[in-house]
């Protein structure tokens, strides 16, 4: 442990050395290839693979997961200086100055993500076998899920910004395909919240477009990096004298202003992918996709890619404190935004989506705190992956039981009918609100603690502001999650007539149980004790990649105040939620009652769509119309004018074409004379 601490004494300052991959790590490409090949096979074979397609679709991520475990065990057995392993696959792009190799970076950070993606992914694949059983396009669904897993693994294993972007676009594509999965009327085996095929298609497009805005930031960032440093690779290839972006920025090859600009562009990309303010609007609508998709892509993995990007780009952000501060501000704003929206949502999936947004806000905020926060952001990310995925699967189980109803006002008292779902969902609920001993207690409290630490900031007042935001956020989290849980499982039954809630099949409940175990024990095993100086197992493991938070977290307020203060706030929120939604006495109307302006606003996502419409869509539409008009009248007009003019001239030119051979000969003779005159005239001039 001491060597670890020493190694990470000055994070970011030393250039991390990558070594050539050995052993299982050198086979890291297969992590990506297995699901990619499976996806290709399922798509190419088409209906012929319908009978066994879902089985192949499950086997691929499971195999990747096993390989991931083996690689993780291998890295654990190595000295920390050898944990940054590089797999060189071959030359990828060789175009003039841009000479990029296709390589994978197998380090604790990427392996952590590999484990999260493949393990949670495998569970969700298994769950989907049962969930999508009656869908005639189940094979295609698994193909897309496999495609997503392959793309996401590419994203996290990439050794350059460009390859990362490749995976980044891949997950965007998979997300788009899966949100709009039910985009045909004939596919309506399932109907999500009564959404029509058109609404699903619109939701997928919205997600795609919002992501494009972020992608622009990524492209600009890559362009700036290439222009400034001449490379977009993270590290130089081991054994060569090449240098990567992170090797160079550590040596001051990048001015602070430029590093800030690049950092902000990367943040824009992260905002798009992770649904952070102001690009958050797509996530709620993305719930149109099948629930396993919401669990895997829009809760556990893809939406956390933005956090991964910021943490991975740590050496860059270390050079740009101002960009980092913006990251923290964005995280704080989204944290409160998501929490407020979550308090008012009646759609169970949209409430969970708001919660996801808010929790990723926590991670962003932590990542924005710099070396203090990188590791704990990832720890919370992984823990969140477990409990949020578990809760989404639980929500899917509830919908399964309630004929695809998503309105929580029509749930209530489901706990008695579906024990597995009740208990596993309850684990997730307790984990996210930070119940002592469960995962969220360790992972989220360490973020709150870090937010209060003075040395993450440049101004002395900042820890108080950010710390308070995280504490308020924790209270709001406790309120909206308890509201969700109580409205669904406690209180009086408000079911639609004719619904007969029942427990889901085993294939669906067992993945929920496994995830619930993760919600229960992950934090205690991997996380940081609020009162200890030990950073937790996962932080230590991540140290070679992201540095060590140990020396840096020095809260401005004593930890007991933070910990117990948070617990008291959470307890109050819990009590409030119980009295209003949980107890037998609580009256939950089946229709949303009239409420204060704030609640109405929160129900409408704080008018984010209206704001987007007013600021972007309507001006954009008018700008487009103006452009179309200009194009039609001016450009096309000019083009058509040229064509029309040419045709008119052509009609004139056709005139001498009379068919009379004598006239042709005369024209030739005149032509000769004219040419002689021209030539002779040129002589004189």
């Amino acid at each position: 442990m001491t060597t670890l601490t020493l190694f990470a004494a000055v994070p970011g300052a030393e250039a991390a050395e990558t070594v050539k991959a050995t052993g299982p790590a050198s086979a890291a490409l297969w992590l990506i290839l297995l699901p990619a090949l499976s996806a290709a096979l399922l798509l190419l074979l088409g209906r012929r693979a319908d009978r066994w397609g879902h089985l192949l679709g499950v086997v691929a991520p499971v195999a990747s997961c096993v390989l991931g475990f083996v690689i993780a065990i291998q890295l654990l057995g190595l000295d920390s200086s050898e944990r940054l392993q590089h797999v060189d696959v071959g030359s990828w792009i060789d175009a003039g100055a841009l000479n990029l190799r296709f390589g994978l970076l197998v380090d604790p950070l990427s392996v952590t993500f590999v484990m999260l993606i493949t393990f949670v992914g495998s569970l969700i694949h298994i769950y989907s076998v049962a969930y999508m059983e009656h869908d005639i396009n189940r094979r295609r669904f698994f193909a897309y899920l496999n495609l997503f897993v392959a793309a996401m693994l590419t994203l996290v294993l990439a050794d350059s910004f460009l390859l990362l972007f490749f995976g980044w676009e891949g997950v965007g594509l998979a997300s788009y395909l899966l949100i709009g999965f039910w985009n045909h009327e004939v596919d309506h085996g399932h109907k999500v919240g009564g959404a029509t095929a058109m609404e699903n298609s619109v939701a997928s497009k919205k997600a795609f477009v919002a992501n494009r805005v972020g992608d622009l930031g990524m492209i600009v960032a890559m362009g700036l990096l290439f222009a400034q440093l001449g490379t977009v690779a993270f590290h130089g290839r081991p054994g060569t004298h090449e240098a990567g972006v992170f090797d160079l920025v550590g040596h001051g090859d990048l001015s602070t202003a430029m590093a800030t600009g690049i950092g902000l562009m990367l943040l824009l990309a992260a905002c798009g992918k992770s649904a952070q303010f102001p690009l958050q609007s797509w996530l709620g609508d993305a719930m149109a996709g099948p629930t396993p998709v919401s669990a895997l892509i829009h809760a556990a993995t893809m939406v956390t890619a933005g956090v991964y990007l910021v943490v991975r780009s740590q050496p860059l952000f270390d050079q740009a404190p101002n960009a980092r501060l913006v990251v923290a501000i964005v995280g704080a704003v989204t944290l409160l935004y998501g929490a407020i929206v979550g308090c008012a949502k009646d759609d169970i999936k949209k409430a969970l989506a708001a919660s996801t947004m808010s929790q990723i806000g926590y991670m962003m905020l932590a990542a924005g705190l710099g070396p203090v926060g990188y590791a704990i952001a990832i720890v919370h990310l992984v823990g969140h992956g477990f409990f949020k995925a578990g809760m989404f699967l639980g929500a899917g189980s509830v919908m399964h039981a309630m004929d695809d109803e998503v309105n929580m006002r029509k749930f209530g008292n489901l706990g008695r009918r579906m024990m597995f779902t009740y208990v596993t969902f309850g684990m997730g609920w307790l984990a996210i609100i930070g119940f002592p001993g469960l995962t969220g207690f360790f992972t989220k409290d360490s973020i709150i603690e870090a937010a209060f630490s003075s040395n993450a900031y440049e101004q002395s007042w900042q820890p108080y502001v950010f710390g308070t935001v995280t504490m308020v956020g924790a209270a709001l989290t406790a309120f909206y999650m308890s509201r969700l849980f109580f409205m669904t499982f406690e209180g009086r039954a408000r079911w639609e007539p004719g619904t007969h809630p029942h427990e889901s099949p085993r294939l669906m409940t067992w993945p929920m149980v496994v995830l619930a175990v993760g919600s229960l024990g992950f934090g205690a095993f991997f996380g940081k004790m609020p009162w200890s100086h030990w950073n937790g197992r996962l932080s230590d493991w991540l140290a070679p990649s992201v540095g060590h938070p140990h020396e840096h977290a020095t809260p401005v307020v004593a930890w007991p105040i933070i910990t117990f203060g948070t617990m008291i706030l959470v307890g109050l929120a819990l009590w409030l939620a119980w009295t209003r939604f949980g107890s037998r006495a609580a009256q939950v109307p089946r229709e949303a009652p009239p409420a204060s302006p704030l609640v109405v606003a929160a129900r409408k996502d704080l008018y984010q769509d209206e704001v987007n419409n007013g600021l972007l869509v309507i001006p954009g539409t008018y700008a487009t119309r103006a452009l179309v008009f200009t194009d039609g009248v001016v450009v096309d007009g000019a083009v058509r004018g040229v064509a029309r003019g040419a045709v008119a001239v052509g009609d004139q030119a056709r005139r001498p074409q009379t068919g009379f051979v004598r006239q042709y000969a005369a024209t030739m003779a005149i032509g000769v004379v004219v040419l002689i005159i021209i030539v002779l005239a040129a002589q004189i001039i």
Binding site: A643, A646, V647, G650, T658, G659, A665, I678, Q683
Partner: protein, 558 residues
């Protein structure tokens, strides 16, 4: 001249020409001695064998020439007994330009012969069974009903091919004139041999002959004036004579101008292009493809030879001539192509426009002394143009009108009849699209490489105004090509194409005929499909991977 020294002939160098012309003579003999039923096969065999053999001989010469640096080989030399130095005896010169153009011409001939030989299920080819018969007469109907075959086409094509090959290899004006006539006379005949629309075909033949004779007269008059001014007909001697002033410059100037007018006529440059649409429309379509591609290649190479070998020093005086003609040709050709509604006339005007683009490359190097870029660009352009032209006219020959009883009749040349061809015959329409894109110079087709070569040559030589006009003209002409593509694939969307106006004869008498709307691709023995396939494949291949061919042409020119 004290006596006559026996010239030494390098037979290997003249072999390609000898093979083709020899095969033509054999073909004439076949007509006399082989029974009618076997003639077609025999003629086809001779033509194809001769073409392939000629290509082989060209390849051998190519190999020999690649070993030598920067010199041309003279096929006939006079050994000088005093110095041992072999002086060229004019006549034929074999250099890189000769070989490239001969290769293109032979390939064009081979591909065209395949199209000519192709017959429909009713054993009809494109040629009238009895040329001498009065159109519509009983005699003609008799010949048709007896299914007589016109097989003299093959030796005629071989004669024309031989003429073209010599035309591009001449080293003096007299040989050039003879070659010009050898290539032209068979074409005059061939133009009049169309099976259908006999009157139009015969009119085209006569027009071509009369105007061609006029142009030949101008050519020979020009040659005479040049001889009068310089005292020689040999290119090298004329080149030497033009360096030193002798007071007869004006005579030389006018002579060169007339000579070039003769060549401008052959390439179809404005204002000597008027025969092009009429003849291209009237001639049997396989012949149109052959002469549009072959004649243009040979004539342009002859023009390049005149400009770069015979008159390298006169660019200062005469570049204005080529500039004027090039601009006029590009503008008139591109604009006129827009208003055509007959596919053969459209392709004819398109070939006029292409002549203009090639002229920019001819003009480019004249006067700057750069002897490689201009000719190289000319050859690259001609290669691309020849492939697309032969392919396009072959398709025109296959797209037929549907008769009332469901059979196929004459060619559906009215553009309106091509509407929807993309649906009914996707493969043919796809190939035609490739050729049109190549004509338009769209990237990834051979046409783009050609356009790029000529405009780059023009810009490099400082002739950017020519390149500018060229780019604008290609943009205008592209409208016409895209109009056809849109028509083939989206018949409903394009503005309604007026009913075909068929220019049936003199006096501008246009007759609008109601025609059956839809055209169809006639089923044939498949020879034409080979031609279309080869042309389309090469057009795309040359567009995607131009490197090897361009380098080969460049190396042989150096």
């Amino acid at each position: 001249m004290t006596g006559f020294d026996t010239p030494q002939v390098d037979w290997a160098l003249v072999a390609p020409v000898l093979i083709v012309l020899g095969a033509a003579v054999v073909g004439v003999l076949l007509e006399a001695f082989v029974p009618a039923a076997a003639r077609r096969v025999a003629q086809l065999g001779v033509s194809v064998t001769a073409s392939v053999a000629a290509l082989g001989a060209i390849g051998w010469s190519w190999h020999r020439l690649n070993g030598i640096d920067g010199t041309a080989l003279y096929a006939m030399v006079t050994p000088d007994s005093l110095t041992g130095f072999a002086a060229p005896l004019g006549a034929l010169v074999v250099d890189g330009m000769t070989l490239v153009s001969q290769a293109i011409v032979v390939v064009v001939a081979l591909l065209s012969v395949l199209v000519m030989a192709d017959r429909t299920a009713s054993r009809e080819d494109a040629f009238t069974p009895m040329v001498s018969a009065v159109p519509g007469s009983q005699y003609e109907q008799l010949a048709t009903s007896r299914r007589m075959q016109q097989t003299e086409v093959y030796p005629l094509v071989l004669f024309a091919t031989g003429g073209m090959m010599v035309f591009s290899a001449t080293a003096d004006l007299l040989t050039m004139f003879v070659a010009l006539e050898v290539l032209s006379l068979p074409l005059y005949l061939l133009s009049g041999m169309a099976r259908r629309r006999r009157l139009q075909s015969q009119e085209a033949s006569l027009k071509y002959f009369l105007l061609g004779s006029f142009a030949s007269a101008l050519f020979i008059f020009g040659a005479a004036l040049i001889y009068g001014s310089t005292g020689s007909l040999s290119f090298t001697e004329i080149a030497a004579a033009t360096v030193s002033p002798n007071g007869l410059e004006k005579l030389l100037l006018v002579g060169v101008l007339l000579l070039m007018v003769g060549l401008f006529f052959k390439v179809g440059a404005v204002p000597f292009h008027l025969w092009t649409p009429d003849v291209y429309q009237g001639a049997p379509t396989p012949i149109t493809g052959f002469m549009a591609a072959g004649t243009k290649v040979a004539a342009f190479v002859a023009l390049v030879r005149v400009v770069y070998v015979m008159l390298p020093g006169m660019g200062w005086d005469l570049a204005v001539l080529v500039w004027t003609v090039a601009i006029a040709t590009m503008v008139v050709g591109s604009v006129a192509v827009l208003v055509q509604n007959d596919i053969k006339r459209l392709l004819a005007y398109s070939s006029v426009a292409h002549a203009g683009f090639v002229l920019t490359a001819v003009a480019a190097g004249w006067g700057t002394g750069d002897k490689t870029d201009g000719p190289w660009a000319v050859l690259v352009y001609l290669l691309a143009y020849a492939l697309a032209t032969v392919g396009a006219f072959t398709i025109v020959a296959l797209v037929r009108e549907r008769s009332a009883d469901g059979g196929t009749t004459g060619e559906a040349t009215a553009l309106s009849q091509w509407a929807g061809l993309g649906r009914t015959n996707p493969v043919i329409a796809g190939c035609f699209t490739v050729f049109l894109l190549s004509f338009a110079g769209i990237p990834l087709t051979a046409g783009f490489v050609g356009k790029f070569a000529v405009f780059a040559a023009a810009v490099q030589a400082g002739a950017w105004p020519l390149a500018l006009v060229g780019v604008l003209a290609s943009a205008v002409a592209a409208f016409a090509y895209f109009k056809v593509i849109v028509l083939m694939y989206f018949p409903g969307r394009d503005a309604k194409v007026e009913d075909a106006e068929i220019n049936t004869g003199a006096g501008g008498a246009t007759v609008t005929m109601a025609r059956p709307k839809a055209a169809t691709v006639v089923a044939t023995q498949g020879w034409a499909a080979v031609t279309i396939g080869v042309c389309a494949l090469l057009s795309v291949l040359l567009g995607i991977l131009p490197g090897g061919v361009l380098t080969a042409i460049n190396n042989i020119l150096l």
